[in-house]
Amino acid sequence: MKNFLAFVASMGLGVMIILSLTSNEFFPEFGSADVSSRVSQGYIDRDVTEANVGVEFGVSENLESGPANIVTAIVADYRSFDTLGEVTVLFVSSLGVALLLGTAVQGRIKLDFRPNFMLKVGSRALFGIILMTGVFIIIHGHLTPGGGFPGGTMIASSILLLYLADDQFRTKVTSFKVLESFAGSLYVLIGIAGLFIADYFLVNFLDNGVLGELFSAGIVPIIYVLIGLKVGSEISGIIDNFLTEEVA
């Protein structure tokens, strides 16, 4: 009965939200968002700091922001500061997981099955493929969908595969720590370098190149590689902590 009341109450709230949004003349109906009246138009036209010269794939050179993927342009260039915060969230939550689950003597969680030979060999082969896919996604983040976060997670998941296929396997956690610290510090240092080079934190101080080429977009691919490494090592750390337990 209590559940039913809660259900009715929350559904009523939902209907109320829908009604208040549909009756709101400023709230655009689904599918009729007016992009040109929003700040997003600036990200598409690339005319935030420069005049609007038009953008053309494979032709435009040295725009204010280089990635062909507009979402990447926002995530890693226009609003890069958010991304720094987001990396920090993952960093601090992996620290928290380590504090909560970390114990002095650690061993692997016992799985119910013994991995056989085929599984071991197959997972080794897959490990390489998944790792390569992750790296590809990170490096092409400014051109195609994807980027540092999914790519980094894919790298972590290739390591997870090794965990699942081999019950003796444990990563060298310390090397992850070094990688994580290195990538994070470099991200902040690139930002501070921008402060000294061009007076702005996290400014894109490299050449932007031709829109759509692999070697373009200035510091964006570098930042994405750093994010990928950091996310990969953080998530590997989280997985490692979840898969270990105290050995009595």
Binding site: G146, G147, S157, I239, F242
Partner: protein, 93 residues
Amino acid sequence: MSNVIDYFQAYQLVDWLSFMISILLVVLAFLAINSKSLIKAVMFISSLSMLAVVGFVVMKAPDVAVTEAVIGSGLVTSLFVFTLLGVGKVGQK
């Protein structure tokens, strides 16, 4: 009533797709929250997240779709499963 029929006749394939996704999303969310078995709930949330990926693709957000597929559907599910594994809850109730 004829209004409603006209409304649905104007539907195109993508609209039908999004209609189906919407219904399935709500059903899966309800199942995920109300299922008694923890591991089933985890599987439901995983498929809910996978369905959300389709929703993201329908709404032309490939970046988000890739990220949600890898992180939301893959990583979060495995973390749930590891938690349940760690306390020996998989397979029970």
